[in-house]
Amino acid sequence: MDTSLRRPGGELASRPLHFIWITDCSGSMIANGKIQALNDAIRESVPLMRNVAQDNPNAQVLIRVLKFSTGAHWHIDEPVPIEQFEWTDLAAAGLTDLGKALSLVAEQMMVSAMHQRALPPVLVLVSDGQPTDNYLNGLQELMDLPWGKKAVRIGIAIGTDANETVLEKFIGNPEIPVLRANNPDVLTRYIKWASTVVLKSASSPGSRAQVGMINGGNVEIPMLPTVPTTALDVW
């Protein structure tokens, strides 16, 4: 008979951390290999994300991918643990219905869809253009939700045609700049930064008093990555 004292309570578990790529798959992403550069950059970042997750076993990193073009759809709709996550290439065609994408994200930020003990989610929006629908409606739906408001929101602009104002509104914090990538190398750096440095910060936040919480709330947004000044702009 086992007379040892067993730890009180039920099953233990690390805290879920939802990381969502929100990717622009409009037709303009075909130009100059932008969509392929995005595919390559995210694929390269996956092993690095696994390393970050491994360093903090108290956070369970769960990945989803949303694509928007004419309409918006989940590319990977069920949260996949980073340990099992494999990147599947995106293809580009159609319009830039960002508003629909943000509405879909908002659905997943509802209290009923989030575990109360979850860590602040990370939302990374990558876009090369102008929204073709009313993106403000979708953004409002997202920002009306506590989890949407407190999510860490990162915006990456691909090329000079990307509307920075839209991305700034998505970020909602003047202290976090839009990251503009004008070539594949810089895009890769920003993608890696968002998927590793930001992820690491989001996986071990402190608490913060309720008043005045904005983007990321209690998550410290780390220093931005340096980019080479000699790289040629191709987008």
């Binding site: 009180p8 233990l12 506590p146 402190g206």
Partner: protein, 311 residues
């Protein structure tokens, strides 16, 4: 008052552990716990607090330590001033305790901050005094303004931000007090577990109510529960690192019935011996956060005696 009510039913134990995440990052434990067995069997006071730990609250470990000290002192004072009229006591506690706790903590924090600025020569590591655009010389730093504006006070209090949960258990009633995240569980004799102070909605992503926010006394959740010979055998008070470590609410609530069973079967001394190890295991395989856990429990159903207060 009958004999049952005159009996001294309560005992106390508690522990805190640094979170696994904090251990890895080299950060200190920002949780605090303090309890006191009041003289003349007036009651037991237990408080836990969780310093925010974010960069805007660099002294939150001190804020948490001050919070539990203030709570224990004020709840002890309440028992000294209370008469036999429970209704009057309830009214007084409900009306005054939240304000007194918040104000008492703020006063202690401001005094601590003043002391810190006067004594610490490493002024650069400390926040600037209101009105200074550069780090003041030590003699200037000592000139801490006596009268601070609300905004100035707010900036200082935020640096020490903390939650606070407390229990006062006497032979006639118990009081539950909560400001911010964390959990107070009540365990009945049949092992059923409840959380009388319901969780606030609308908070997410480690956001919490706090002692440091303006008019935070309005956010205090409070319960005054008279006892009529049916007092629950166990009250648990924990910072949120504990509940956040469990996969489900049911799994967390099971700590209540499990601790009650262990106290009855093996006695408080055995439980106390294992408590730190259990909490460390819970943080390691769970939230990774600091955990402070205190238990106020009835002694008559337990197989050991002799626990006292401490921190």
């Amino acid at each position: 008052m009958n004999n049952k009510q005159n009996q001294w039913p309560w005992r106390v134990m508690g522990e805190k552990v640094i979170g696994a995440t904090h251990s890895r990052s080299g950060n200190p434990c920002q949780d605090a716990i303090l309890w006191k067995v009041l003289p003349e069997q007036r009651g037991i006071v237990l408080a836990v607090a969780d310093g925010h730990g974010s960069s805007s609250s660099p002294y939150s470990d001190e804020g948490a330590a001050l919070a539990v000290q203030v709570a224990v002192a004020l709840l002890e004072k309440l028992t000294q001033e209370s008469g036999d009229n429970l209704s009057l006591l309830k009214q007084m506690a409900e009306a005054q305790l939240p304000r007194m706790m918040v104000r008492g903590w703020a006063e202690e924090v401001l005094a601590r901050h003043r002391e810190k600025r006067i004594k610490d020569p490493d002024a650069e590591s400390l926040p600037l005094l209101p009105g200074f655009s550069v780090v003041p010389a030590p003699e200037v730093a000592a000139d801490f303004p006596e009268e601070l504006t609300d905004a100035e006070q707010g900036r200082i209090l935020l640096k020490y931000g903390s939650t606070l949960l407390a229990v006062l258990a006497t032979a006639r009633f118990f009081i539950l007090f909560q400001l911010g995240d964390g959990d107070i569980l009540v365990v009945e004799s049949d092992g059923s577990v409840s959380r009388p102070l319901t969780r606030r909605t609308g908070l997410a992503a480690n956001e919490t109510l706090s002692l440091c926010t303006k008019s935070s006394w309005k956010d205090v959740q409070f319960l005054f529960q008279p006892l009529h010979g049916e007092e629950p055998p166990l009250l648990l008070v924990a910072t949120d690192g504990y509940s956040n470590s469990f996969a489900s609410e049911e799994g967390f609530f099971r700590v209540g019935s499990d601790y009650l069973a262990l106290l009855k079967r093996d006695g408080p001394d055995e439980v106390a011996l294992k408590l730190k190890e259990w909490l460390a295991e819970t943080s390691e395989s769970g939230s990774g956060d600091d955990i402070a856990l205190g238990m106020v429990f009835r002694g008559d159903g337990c197989s050991a005696t002799g626990l006292g207060g401490g921190d």
